[in-house]
């Protein structure tokens, strides 16, 4: 059985005191412990951003990739070795700005992995520019006159594009976040958990109390199998940000399409192959 401390490295965090990333980090570790996932079984692919800096204090097989590129790296890892527990971790900037195209298309693959978005509605590591999740009109360092763009409804896109598990949680609701992360990891297919993450230093609008005021928990009557309703509700923001498991369906995964789960992983298949039979095609 892994312990919480197994997931800690010797490196100290460089996150600001009170940052929402701490909550997310604690919940991921708790989830791994509860699901009995050992550090060496977990591959976490981190983006570039405040969130991704966490790769230094998260003990696991870590891959600190390029900005916006966590998903394709994760897909490659998963295809090569489906036995690994693969989790991609990104900020809203990396996930939806630089990585927007990968986001949409990875939903279509239904690759069996979990995608965690630290959504602080800002580019933080670069000291606070607008992100695809910043509200229209929001004043940031790159939009001192106000953000001219509307906020992206990425969960709506995710469901439409074919993600099979779409949830939202709050960084400082440890219990609920852990419950959702567990469900996401146990889900067979592409699971997205969008986590509302207060950035205490740079986002002075979407603060803890702002989120507390605006979140609307989905209650027990919510049916995550209802796609139409899920698309509808995932688009709402100002009148209550839906929090909980918004959508869930079962569908064959990318690995299933290649029958990878019934064979030894590609990592075990590297040796010389005789191609004389194939060469006959050129006779």
């Amino acid at each position: 059985m892994p312990k919480l401390t197994d997931f800690i490295t010797t490196k100290k965090s460089t996150w600001c005191a009170g940052c929402g990333n701490f909550g997310i980090w604690a919940a991921i570790k708790q989830t791994f412990v509860e699901l009995n996932i050992e550090p060496h079984q977990a591959v976490n692919i981190f983006d570039i951003g405040c969130n991704g800096n966490g790769c230094n204090w998260f003990r696991c097989y870590g891959f600190h990739s390029l900005h916006g590129r966590v998903l394709p790296v994760a897909v490659g890892i998963k295809l090569a070795n489906p036995k690994l527990k693969v989790m991609a971790i990104s900020g809203d900037g990396g996930a939806l700005g630089e990585g927007g195209n990968h986001f949409m298309h990875t939903c279509r693959t239904n690759v069996d992995m979990t995608y965690i978005i630290h959504n602080n509605q800002l580019y933080s590591l670069t000291t606070g520019q607008m992100s695809p999740e910043s509200a229209q009109g929001m004043k940031t360092k790159s939009t001192p006159q106000g953000n001219p763009l509307v906020q992206l409804n990425h969960l709506q896109i995710a469901i439409s594009a074919g993600a099979t598990f779409v949830a939202r949680a709050y960084a400082f609701d440890m219990q609920e976040l852990t419950r959702i992360l567990k469900a996401a990891i146990e889900h067979k297919g592409f699971s997205i958990v969008d986590i509302l993450q207060p950035c205490v230093t740079l986002n002075l609008i979407n603060t803890s109390s702002w989120y507390t005021d605006h979140m609307k928990k989905l209650d027990d009557t919510w049916d995550p199998a209802n796609k139409e309703k899920a698309i509808q509700i995932s688009g709402s923001w100002d009148k209550g940000i839906p929090v909980g498991i918004i959508y869930k369906e079962e569908r064959p995964t990318l690995e299933d399409s290649y029958s990878l789960n019934t064979k030894e992983p590609l990592t075990q298949q590297v040796h010389a192959y005789d191609v004389r039979e194939l060469l006959k095609e050129f006779a």
Partner: protein
């Protein structure tokens, strides 16, 4: 030069490629060697498409310019290719498609012409228009007075077992063209005859994309992840077609950026993976090359060039991406750029690319171009053996015995052993940030570690150089004039050099890193160095001068989208004093 060249031209979709391939196969059936090449626009229908085949009694490495027998399925063929006709050449043209005026022009140049109404022959023989190209093929063999039974044997081989009906239909079509020409054009003779020779009839014909694809399968590449772009696309097609047999995962993601990152992810996990594209697609991949470099994750990328910049000439050829591939990516790091020059070397260098990528944990490129990707060469004996070298990879047992494992341990040879995700006691951080021996970000407050890691990565170079194939020397070893080329120029050069007794050709199979000693040795005592490249500025010459100071006396450059013709190289060399 005892070379015969046949060419067929028509509208896109008329089946020139099929006719060309069957023509070559029929020649192979008499032991003859062939080199085929297709010229086409970037469109599925409409536009002009030609396919040429040069035939020789010894292995042939390039398509020749001078055409002896031209099959014109449309008017444009006459307009565009009459210029290529050799003295004593013949044009067979479809009288239903080609106007009298066009033919007059050809006649004025003293080229013999034979009219044939393909539509009428289709009707008379109860055939379908789909075999129009095959009737034209039959007519070609008629003019050549080729043994029609040899053509039948070829058809048996190609179609017989799989689809006898198709074979029979093609036979009727061959007969229709063959007999028509025999009856009506008995007097039209080519000075050239294709005679049976003492050589294997069991040849294979393949292009360098096929070579890369076969090389990938043979070397245990288990995932090919790519986005289509000419002229690299047919690598993707081949491995996809074979996937059922080979078990390779062939995946086309949303774009080249995803393709290259997924390839790197798969390599990191511990399998062998590869991607392939052309210059434009590769432009999107360059950030990932740097990811491979700093994380020391093996990467194998095939780039088949076409003339740029931008969309350029999508279906033509150029060696214009050399500088880009050699220099792409921010930062300063090691890479290897292999430059195969035919299907066999494409096969071998693909296998080598995987070994180098894994042994040295670096990005490795296979740089070819459209002339190679679509150049169909015949082989008696295509070698398919590969040697797999994966470098320092730790087993689970070895890891468990280790007190402390560091993925980026500073070693003398610069290579540190890999653990793979999932293994116990092998945890590390694969980090795009500069890192310490575990992989932790160093942020720059330990500049010694930065220097140590840069030096460690660079320390691999001497061993890499030892593993690379050396320059090849052809022709007169002690010649005063040395012509130097790389990649696809080797084919036409090997043909051209046969005309000379006092020329040496130095072929560079690896364009980066540059092995100064080996190149100096290969140039040897030559007084005059000529560098021949299929690009506008002499990109290899520039690299060579930068690294070694070696400066050519003359550059021979071509950048029209066409490859070098052996004949024009001969003329260019003759002018060198």
């Amino acid at each position: 030069m005892n070379i015969f060249t046949w060419k067929i031209g028509g509208a896109a979709g008329d089946g020139q490629q099929v006719a060309g391939s069957l023509f070559a196969k029929a020649c192979n059936q008499e032991g003859l060697y062939t080199y085929g090449y297709s010229e086409f626009p970037s469109a599925i229908r409409g536009g002009h498409v030609a396919f040429g085949v040069s035939v020789a009694e010894r292995p042939i490495h390039a398509l020749y310019h001078d055409v002896y027998l031209l099959i014109a399925l449309n008017e444009e063929t006459v307009q565009l290719h009459t210029e290529e006709m050799a003295k004593g050449g013949i044009i067979i043209y479809d009288s239903g498609k080609v106007t009298a005026q066009a033919i007059e022009v050809a006649k004025k140049k003293k080229i013999e012409v034979c009219a044939i109404s393909l539509a009428e022959l289709i009707k008379e023989n109860g055939l379908r228009p789909i075999v129009t190209n095959i009737i034209a093929l039959g007519a070609s063999f008629g003019i050549l007075e080729y043994d029609v039974n040899v053509v039948y044997t070829m058809l048996d081989k190609v179609f017989g077992a799989k689809s006898p009906e198709v074979r029979d239909m093609n036979r009727i079509a061959i007969d229709a063209g063959f007999n028509y020409v025999k009856k009506n054009y008995l007097g039209k003779k080519l000075f050239f005859k294709l005679n049976e020779i003492q050589a294997s009839k069991e040849k294979v014909i393949l292009n360098s994309n096929n070579g890369v694809a076969l090389g990938a399968v043979a070397s245990g590449c288990r995932a090919y992840i790519a986005y289509p772009m000419s002229p690299a696309t047919t690598i993707l097609h081949s491995v996809a077609e074979w996937a059922k047999k080979t078990g390779m995962v062939v995946y086309q993601p949303e774009d080249e950026i995803a393709a290259v990152h997924a390839m790197i992810g798969a390599m990191y996990a511990g399998t062998r993976a590869m991607t392939g594209t052309s210059g434009g697609g590769f432009a999107l991949m360059t950030e990932a090359v740097t990811l491979s470099a700093i994380t020391e994750t093996p990467a194998v990328i095939a780039v088949s060039s076409r003339p740029g910049p931008s969309t350029g000439l999508p279906t033509w050829t150029e060696q214009g991406d050399l500088r880009f591939v050699v220099h792409c990516g921010h930062g300063d790091f090691l890479r290897v750029v292999l430059a195969p020059s035919d299907p066999q070397s494409a096969f071998e260098q693909t296998a080598l690319a995987f070994n180098l990528a894994e042994k040295y944990q670096i990005p490795v490129f296979i740089l070819i171009d459209k002339y190679l990707s679509e150049g169909y060469k015949s082989f008696d004996n295509f070698k398919t053996e590969v040697k797999i070298e994966r470098g320092k990879m730790l087993t689970q047992e070895e890891l468990l015995k280790m007190k402390e494992y560091n993925r980026y341990k500073l070693t003398k040879d610069g290579v540190s052993a890999r653990s793979l995700p999932g293994m116990q006691n092998g945890l590390h951080l694969t980090n795009s940030d500069e890192h310490d021996e575990y992989g932790f970000t160093i942020e720059g407050w330990t500049p010694e570690m930065r220097v140590a890691q840069v030096d460690k990565r660079a320390a691999k170079l001497p061993a890499i150089l030892k593993d690379l194939p050396k320059p090849e020397i052809y022709g007169e070893k002690f010649a005063k004039i040395a012509v130097l080329g790389w990649g696809s120029t080797r084919g036409p050069m090997l043909e051209a050099i046969q005309t000379f007794e006092n020329i040496k050709y130095v072929h560079i199979p690896v364009v980066w890193p540059i092995d100064q000693k080996a190149i100096e040795k290969a140039i040897g005592s030559a007084k005059k160095l000529v560098i021949m490249e299929n690009n506008p500025t002499g990109q290899f010459a520039e690299l060579l001068r930068g690294i070694t100071g070696i400066t050519p006396a003359k550059l021979i450059l071509k950048y029209s989208g066409r490859q070098f013709w052996p004949e024009e190289i001969v003329e260019m060399i003759k002018k060198i004093k």
